[in-house]
């Protein structure tokens, strides 16, 4: 097929070819096509950029929990998106693509035929190399399936069991079991997720058997009713000020775009036990014009505050993690009911699209934060929350603009003037804080709003520039938000971020990104206003498809309280610098070797650390087996200089262990795939951290079977 004809954008303009084409184009095209079609990418994994970003996010924030984020991606890997179907619904399963990107891609396939190579996608408007690399592990370039014929549906069952063995007793021992079932037939699909963490008993007494059980049934229509979901679901709207189930994008500084993914209501399949909705969701209309209505009532974990008569009078904060082993964890389990009703209206055309979102939240118990702690001065208080937001996206392929503004109004416990607040912590300091919100009740518009805006510009095929500015007032609250933000929580941050992606030369790609932000109100470990910054520089040299070298340097700094026993705390800036090198090569068609080295440096503690890691991935020719192996050696001077190393793991799972102190980490994993719809994996991991406090020998064994019918 003539590649020249295929490469046209929506305006019929021929795309400029600035990507690296070998001199002999015909031979090279044939080689690439053969290489891509005749053998699936044997060790196709997430983009290295995504892996590094996950490691950096975890290194910077101990609160970060990428589980939901990575499980969403794993779902796509299990069932790749068929790009060449030309179906917007199918392509929109790539949740990190915007509506514009989905439409461009679907339109391109319909007008120009099937996509043959990934390089073709990078030439489309609103796409670039980094976006395509992000998509690559989750898409299929097979021709669109023919319509018609009987279909008995498709069922996928995944059973996983994982066990850890430590030399010292700890509550991480035990077996983690996970069952995922998904069936799709015609317009209907159902799903079930059941999980037990280590130490949690399997019992039907006062429970469904497993500690966590999630299910949904979904209908996808073709008319006005686009989708109905009954059961567990997630919502993504606008830029994530109110709802964003893909919270990973909130911290990824060098992402291909700062724009949030497509607005959608989707079935929930993650094992994260608190950040989802349980009820019913109705999606009407199309991507350009429509509405999403939903209602949810879900029990979540929270720390209960007991009154003098030992009855629950409120909750102090939510509890994340989903582990229910100890007594306090059992007390927090499902102790709070969150009821939400919301509506989202969408309208727009090809180049402009806007939406309005409204939601109202009620809690079965009021939030009663301890406002004697500085970080709780603006904490949510009360038992109800009203959120409103409006968002807009506009532009052509070369410049895309996006913005969202929202407000969160928390209802007082009782009266509007803050009186009669039963159970509320008294302000014993007498400061009053008349201008603040939430913690002492009352409505305060000035301190309860948030806004984010940015643009994505692609002035040429080799340059992509992203910019984002944001403001989250200290009193802004949204419990399911996931907008671009350096810190945790939904409010208390003002910042600017920018990134540049550049094809500097043939085979050489450079990414530079910076983020500066200010935290105006006290937060955890900082009792006054503070500021922080992040800078990332990455370079990748990829002379061939089977060899690449990546060098990255990141620095992040943030102000924290200096350790003092008396008096007002002064602040000290903590800086973490990390240098990383990854060398990836496939010397043979069935073999892939990855060598990585990382070093970290922390100031002012002057802690240093390094990590050396060797990975091997081998696919057997005559047997349906694939083998992964890793040996990692780490030496750091403490926990602050820890280094993270992404590991290949079971399907629908991920592993990014933190390595610190004097530690070695090894694992071997074997995959057996006797048929296209049956796959079994077993993984054995071994960690020796003998000199670390509480360390020693730790082993883990994981097994998984996936069967497709």
């Amino acid at each position: 097929m003539d590649n020249q004809m295929k490469c046209r954008n929506l305006h019929g303009e021929q795309c400029q070819r600035r990507l690296r084409w070998p001199p002999d184009r015909k031979a090279a095209c044939a080689a690439m096509i053969l290489g891509l079609l005749s053998c699936p990418l044997l060790c196709q994994e997430e983009s290295q950029d995504l892996r590094e970003s996950v490691e950096e996010i975890l290194a910077l924030s101990e609160d970060a929990d990428p589980a939901a984020m990575l499980e969403e991606l794993e779902e796509l890997k299990v069932s790749p998106v068929n790009i060449n179907s030309g179906d917007e619904k199918e392509i929109s399963r790539l949740f990190f693509l915007t509506e514009f990107q989905v439409m461009v891609l679907a339109d391109h396939v319909r007008k120009n035929g099937s996509v043959v190579t990934l390089y073709e996608l990078a030439l489309l408007p609103a796409f670039d190399r980094n976006t395509v690399l992000l998509m690559a592990p989750y898409i299929s370039l097979e021709p669109g399936a023919p319509k018609g014929g009987k279909s008995y549906g498709r069922t996928l069952v995944t059973m996983t069991a994982a066990a850890r063995f430590n030399c010292a007793e700890s509550n991480t021992e035990g077996i983690r079991s996970l069952l995922k079932v998904k069936h799709k037939q015609g317009s209907f699909s159902i799903g079930l997720t059941a999980e037990n963490d280590p130490g949690e008993p399997f019992t039907f007494k006062n429970g469904p058997g497993t500690d966590f059980l999630s299910a949904y049934i979904q209908y996808e229509g073709k008319g006005v009713i686009n989708r109905i979901i009954a059961g567990d679901f997630s919502v993504r709207a606008g830029e994530g000020l109110l709802f964003n189930s893909s919270q990973w994008m909130g911290s990824w500084l060098s992402s291909p775009s700062f724009m949030s993914g497509r607005s959608v209501s989707a079935p929930y399949t993650s094992t994260e036990e608190n950040s989802f909705f349980r009820g019913i969701s109705l999606t009407l209309g199309s991507m350009n014009t429509g509405a999403v209505l939903f209602a949810s009532s879900n029990e979540i974990d929270a720390r209960v505050v007991l009154g003098e008569d030992s009855t629950a009078t409120g909750v102090s904060h939510l509890v994340r993690g989903g582990i229910h082993v100890s007594e306090s964890q059992h007390e927090a389990q499902n102790s709070l009911t969150e009821t939400i009703a919301g509506i989202r209206l969408i309208a727009g055309a090809e180049k402009v699209r806007g939406g309005v979102s409204v939601s109202s939240t009620w809690f079965s118990l009021p939030f009663i934060p301890d406002i004697t702690e500085p970080q709780n001065l603006h904490a949510f208080a009360g038992d109800r929350l009203l959120n409103l937001a409006a968002d807009i996206r506009a532009g052509t392929g070369s410049v895309l603009f996006f913005a969202e503004a929202g407000i969160g109004l928390s209802g007082p416990l009782a009266d509007m003037d803050g009186s009669n607040q039963q159970g509320l912590q008294a302000d014993t300091t007498g400061t009053g804080l008349p201008g603040s919100v939430s913690a002492i009740g009352g409505l305060n518009f000035r301190d309860s709003w948030a806004a984010t805006a940015g643009l994505r510009a692609k002035p040429s095929g080799r340059v992509t520039f992203n910019f984002l500015t944001r403001h989250f007032a200290p009193g802004y609250h949204a419990f399911h938000s996931g907008a671009f933000k350096a810190g945790s929580g939904s409010g208390n941050e003002t910042g600017l971020a920018a990134s540049l992606h550049l094809e500097a030369a043939r085979h050489l790609f450079i990414t530079a990104a910076a983020d500066h932000y200010r935290i105006p109100a006290p937060r955890y470990r900082s009792s006054s206003s503070s500021s922080g910054s992040r800078i990332e520089l990455k370079g990748e040299y990829q002379p061939r498809d089977d060899i690449s070298v990546r060098l990255s340097w990141t620095t992040s700094s943030r102000e924290y309280d200096a350790a003092r026993e008396t008096g007002a705390a002064t602040s000290v800036t903590h800086t973490r610098q990390q240098l990383g090198l990854v060398f990836d090569i496939s010397p043979a068609h069935t073999l892939r070797l990855t060598t990585r080295a990382s070093a970290s440096f922390i100031s002012p503690s002057q802690e240093k650390g390094y990590l050396l890691c060797q990975d091997l991935c081998y696919s057997f020719r005559s047997l349906p087996l694939k083998l992964w192996f890793r040996y990692a050696l780490c030496s750091t001077e403490g926990w602050d200089s820890r280094l993270y190393a992404w590991e290949n793991d079971l399907l629908n799972s991920f592993s990014v262990p933190a390595l610190y102190g004097e530690m070695t980490r090894s694992f071997v994993m074997l995959s057996w795939k006797p048929a296209g719809r049956i796959e079994a994996r077993v993984k054995y991991g071994f960690t020796d951290s003998g000199s670390n406090p509480g360390g020693g020998l730790k082993q883990e064994v994981k097994g998984q079977v996936r069967i497709g019918f």
């Binding site: 040429s460 340059v463 910042g495 910076a514 932000y517």
Partner: protein, 267 residues
């Protein structure tokens, strides 16, 4: 030759004999600010006063005025006017800037020129006179110094530049600075620049900038400076022989520094 040596010696003696304050050269040009002053190798009117070798890239005589307001404080505002006369043999650049208010101000005057050594290499030099005025018991001080720059066109799209300010710092107490940068003309309307700047007693600063021409009249600029850390944004509009630019620096601690400039080019 003897004459030039005498002039140079005279300048050095004058510089050595003057009392010293600690003034700094306030960079001007809203277009330059929009790119975080990463303009050591980027042609432009005000850029020619950041690296005098760029004077050779000006094709016509031009006059410009620039106003900068630091941190939204009028007492820290700076006004400047400049002229470039594009003489065939060696262009001439003149700049005068005023920084401060009636009680304290610093007057900077510079005259520079440049020559093209080869088709690819240009050299420029500028002599500066800096006068500082204070009220009350603060005495007035004056300085004479010079700065020099060089550019080299590595290819049709790559240009490198280097600039020195006050290289005779051992003879006076003025800070010295050295800037080195590269300019990449990615396409007719897209420039990417990178500059490293080191001022004495200050940390190294790395600046990068992008300039994107839209519709041949509108220019969008953005940049980043590492020390002090700040984002820069700018916009320019060209109509006939007139060009107007606006630029902003945003620093999370000190706030916003804004600048506007208007340039009239006579062809």
């Amino acid at each position: 030759m003897l004459r030039w040596n005498a002039v140079f010696l005279l300048l050095v003696i004058n510089v050595a004999g003057l009392h010293a304050g600690e003034p700094l050269f306030v960079p001007h040009g809203a277009g330059s600010m929009g790119m975080a002053f990463a303009v050591t190798a980027t042609p432009g009117h005000w850029n020619s006063f950041h690296n005098q070798a760029l004077l050779t890239a000006n094709s016509g005589t031009a006059f410009s005025a620039s106003f900068e307001n630091r941190f939204m404080m009028s007492a820290l505002s700076s006004k400047a006017v400049s002229a470039i006369f594009a003489f065939k043999q060696a262009p001439l650049g003149l700049v005068v800037s005023h920084y401060g208010n009636a009680d304290y101000y610093r007057l900077f005057t510079g005259a520079g020129s440049a020559v093209r050594i080869t088709d690819a290499v240009a050299l420029g030099v500028q002599v500066d006179y800096i006068s500082e005025h204070g009220i009350g018991e603060y005495r007035d001080v004056s300085h004479v110094t010079f700065e020099a720059g060089m550019t080299c066109n590595l290819s049709s799209s790559f240009t490198v530049g280097i600039h020195l300010f006050n290289p005779v710092s051992p003879l006076n107490t003025l800070p010295s600075s050295i800037d080195a940068g590269i300019n990449w003309k990615q396409s007719d309307g897209l420039f990417l620049t990178l500059t490293g700047s080191k001022v004495s007693n200050e940390p190294l600063s790395v600046q990068c900038g992008i300039s994107w021409d839209l519709m041949q009249r509108l220019t969008l600029r953005t940049g980043y400076m590492s020390s002090p850390s700040a984002f820069a944004f700018g916009i320019g509009f060209k109509s006939g022989s007139l060009q107007a630019d606006a630029g902003f620096f945003i620093n999370s601690t000190t706030g916003v520094t804004s600048s506007v400039s208007v340039t009239w080019t006579i062809r």
